[in-house]
C-alpha cells in the first residue's frame, strides 16, 4: 500500500480511505455465480480529526456500505483504510478490536438497534461489559453518567428502550456509542425520521458532544439542509464514486428553488439523480 501518507505528514487526518472497492455477490443461479454488484468504486476520502464530513447521495449510491466498511463491519474488496495512520484492511479480527472501539456506528432506526429485553442502563453498559471494563457497579455508574451526558435523567435507567420516546431512544444510542470513548462516530442517517424540534435537539446534542468529547463525525444523510448546517466538508457519492468533495458553501440540494446554491454540488446531485430543477 502507499506509504507516503504516514501520520506525520498530515497529523490532523484521523481517517483516510484509499481506493476502496466493495462489491456484493448476488448469489448463484443455475449453479453459476452471477456477477457481483459494484457498490463502491475506488473511493478516496479523508476526515480531519475533530471535523465533520458529510456523505450525501441518492438511495442506493453506497453511502451505508461505505459507512460499514469504514466501521470495519464489512471488509472492502480492495483499497486501504488508514485510521490515525494505521492500515486496517489487512488486520485480523483480533487485531481490529482496539480500532473497533474507537470507531462507533449509530444507525438510522434506533428501535431496531436496541434490545427490547434490556433496560436503558443495560443498553449503555453492554459495550463496557463486552470489553471487560469495571465491576458491575462501576459499569452502572458509568452508564448513568453517560446518560446524563446525553440529557437522559437517571430515573429512565430502569425503563425498556420501548418505553422511551423517539428522541430519548436516539439519545440512548448516542450514549451507548460513547461508552468506549470512541474517536470517530459514523452517524448513518442519525437524524432521519425525527420531528423538527427533536431533530434540532439531537443535532445540538451532537454538536455539543463533538466539542466536549473532541469527536470526529462521518455524517451520512440525504437531508441537504442538515448537511449544510452540520458539516465542515461534504462528499457527494453517486453509484459508488465520490463525485464532489468540498465545503458546504450553500444548501446542496435545497427544496426551495430560489436559494443561491453551490453550482458544482447541486449540478452533480441533480444531474446524477436525473432531476432537473427549475
Amino acid at each position: 500500500m502507499r506509504t507516503d501518507l504516514s501520520p506525520t505528514d498530515e497529523p490532523q487526518v484521523l481517517l483516510r480511505a484509499l481506493a476502496l472497492c466493495k462489491g456484493y455477490a448476488r448469489g448463484r443461479t443455475f449453479g453459476r455465480n452471477r456477477p457481483s454488484i459494484e457498490v463502491l468504486r475506488a473511493v478516496d476520502l479523508k476526515i480531519r480529526a475533530g471535523s465533520t464530513l458529510a456523505l450525501i447521495g441518492p438511495s442506493g449510491s453506497g453511502k451505508s456500505t461505505l459507512g460499514r466498511c469504514l466501521a470495519c463491519l464489512e471488509r472492502p474488496d480492495s483499497g486501504e483504510i488508514l485510521f490515525a495512520g494505521k492500515g486496517l484492511v489487512s488486520l485480523t479480527p483480533r487485531e481490529l478490536i482496539p480500532f473497533r472501539r474507537q470507531i462507533q456506528l449509530i444507525f438510522q432506526e434506533p428501535a431496531a438497534a436496541l434490545n427490547p429485553r434490556f433496560t436503558a442502563v443495560e443498553v449503555v453498559s453492554e459495550p463496557l461489559l463486552i470489553s471487560g471494563r469495571g465491576t458491575k457497579k462501576e459499569r452502572k455508574e458509568r452508564a448513568i453518567d453517560l446518560m446524563a451526558l446525553v440529557g437522559l435523567p437517571a430515573h429512565l435507567g430502569d425503563r425498556s428502550p420501548f418505553e422511551l420516546s423517539g428522541g430519548q431512544r436516539r439519545r440512548l444510542v448516542v450514549a451507548r456509542a460513547l461508552a468506549l470513548e470512541p474517536k470517530l462516530l459514523i452517524l448513518d442517517e442519525a437524524l432521519a425520521g425525527l420531528d423538527l424540534s427533536t431533530r434540532a435537539q439531537i443535532s445540538n446534542l451532537l454538536l455539543e458532544l463533538q466539542k466536549v468529547c473532541s469527536l470526529t463525525y462521518l455524517f451520512i444523510s440525504h437531508d441537504a439542509d442538515m448537511v449544510a448546517h452540520f458539516a465542515d466538508e461534504v462528499a457527494v457519492l453517486h453509484e459508488g464514486e465520490i463525485v464532489t468533495l468540498g465545503p458546504p458553501r450553500l444548501p446542496v440540494c435545497s427544496r426551495s428553488p430560489h436559494t443561491d446554491q453551490s453550482p458544482a454540488v447541486t449540478a452533480a446531485f441533480s444531474r446524477l439523480s436525473g432531476l432537473s430543477r427549475q
Binding site: 438511495s59 448546517h229 444548501p251
Partner: protein, 325 residues
C-alpha cells in the same frame, strides 16, 4: 359555496385500558373547498394520522369517534352505512399512505392492484381495467419503466411504489386525496419528485388535498392553507404563506425556528433553537394549555386556563391566550 368536506367538532379517543383513554383528536373543525390543498402540520403523536384515518372510518379497533361530523358532499361519513361508505372510499376520497410498501399487496402484480381499484368502483372488464392501469402508470411518470405493471411491489424502489399508490388513488377520479406523510420514507430527491407529481394532479385535475406532514418545507409550495396541530387540537390555521412567514402560535414559531437557517446568513455549526421537552402524554393532559410547559411566552394563566380559539384576522385562527382580548 358549499365546502367539499366539513369536519365539525371531531373527537377521537384511544382506549388505553378499561378505565383510561387518550384523546387523540380533540374537537377539531375545519373545511376543505373543492380543488384546495390543505396542509396539516404537527409533530408525531399530535393526532395527524388519526385525523386522516377517522375521516374515512379507517381507525384501528382501539380507537373510536366520540362525537362530531364529517360531511362530504352533503353526506355525514360517520353515520353512513358501511356499503355506502365503501363507494366513497377510493372514488370520492382516496388515501396515500406514508409507507407505500405497507399499502400494496406483496403477492399481486401492481398493474392488477390498480385494476382492482377500478373494477371495485366502475363496471369494467378486466382487460379494460388492465389497459386503464397501464395508462395510469404512465400518468404517474412510470411509462418509461419496462413492463412495470407486471412487477411485484418488492421489485420496485420506494419512489416507484409510492407512484403506484398514487396511481391507485387517482384511478377513480376522487374529489379529495388524503396524503399522510407521503414522502417521509423517501430520499430527498424522490420526495421532491413525488410532491411535484401530487401538485401537478391537484392543479390539472382540480383535486382537493389534505396533505399531512411534520415538515413545513413539504407544505410550502404545496398547500394553500395550513392547519397546525398540537396535542389533538388545531392551534393555528391560516393561508400557507402567512402561517409559514408570520406564525402566530408560539408552537408554530418554535417549529419553524428549529430548522437550520437557509441562505447566506445561515449559522453553520451553531446550536439550533429548540422547543424544550416533548409533547404531552395524550392520556394525561395538563389542566391548562397543552403547550404551556414548553412555551417560551407562557404565563401563569396558561397553566390553569384552556385557551379559546380566536380569529385575529378573517382567515386566520389561533388557540393561545396571548391573542385573547
Amino acid at each position: 359555496m358549499q365546502p367539499l368536506l366539513q369536519v365539525r367538532n371531531l373527537e377521537v379517543c384511544y382506549a388505553l385500558d378499561d378505565r383510561r383513554q387518550s384523546i387523540a383528536v380533540d374537537g377539531l373543525s375545519f373545511d376543505i373547498t373543492s380543488g384546495e390543498a390543505v396542509g396539516v402540520l404537527g409533530e408525531s403523536g399530535c393526532g395527524k394520522t388519526t385525523l386522516g384515518l377517522s375521516l374515512l372510518r379507517l381507525l384501528p379497533k382501539a380507537a373510536s369517534v366520540l362525537r362530531g361530523a364529517v360531511v362530504f358532499q352533503g353526506k355525514d361519513l360517520l353515520t353512513l352505512a358501511e356499503c355506502d361508505l365503501r363507494r366513497v372510499r377510493g372514488a370520492g376520497i382516496s388515501m396515500v399512505y406514508q409507507e407505500p410498501g405497507m399499502a400494496l399487496n406483496p403477492v399481486i402484480r401492481v398493474g392488477d392492484q390498480i385494476a382492482e381499484v377500478l373494477r371495485a368502483h366502475e363496471s369494467m372488464s378486466w382487460a379494460r381495467a388492465r389497459e386503464e392501469a397501464c395508462a395510469l402508470l404512465a400518468q404517474v411518470g412510470l411509462a418509461t419503466v419496462d413492463r412495470i405493471d407486471m412487477a411485484y411491489p418488492h421489485q420496485l424502489s420506494g419512489g416507484q411504489k409510492q407512484r403506484v399508490v398514487i396511481a391507485q388513488a387517482i384511478a377513480c377520479h376522487p374529489a379529495l386525496i388524503i396524503a399522510d406523510e407521503p414522502t417521509t420514507a423517501l430520499d430527498a430527491v424522490t420526495q421532491m419528485e413525488i410532491l411535484t407529481l401530487l401538485k401537478g394532479f391537484q392543479e390539472r385535475l382540480r383535486l382537493a388535498f389534505l396533505l399531512i406532514s411534520h415538515n413545513p418545507d413539504d407544505l410550502d409550495h404545496f398547500a394553500d392553507r395550513i392547519l397546525v396541530m398540537y396535542a389533538g387540537q388545531v392551534v393555528e390555521e391560516g393561508p400557507a404563506r402567512d402561517v409559514l412567514q408570520s406564525p402566530l402560535h408560539p408552537y408554530t414559531r418554535g417549529l419553524l425556528r428549529s430548522r437550520p437557517a437557509n441562505g447566506p446568513d445561515r449559522n453553520r455549526k451553531r446550536f439550533l433553537e429548540v422547543i424544550p421537552g416533548e409533547p404531552p402524554d395524550l392520556g394525561d393532559m395538563p389542566e391548562g394549555c397543552a403547550f404551556a410547559a414548553r412555551c417560551p411566552d407562557g404565563r401563569s394563566l396558561c397553566r390553569t386556563r384552556k385557551p379559546e380559539e380566536v380569529w385575529p384576522e378573517a382567515v386566520r385562527r389561533v388557540r393561545c391566550v396571548n391573542y385573547a382580548h
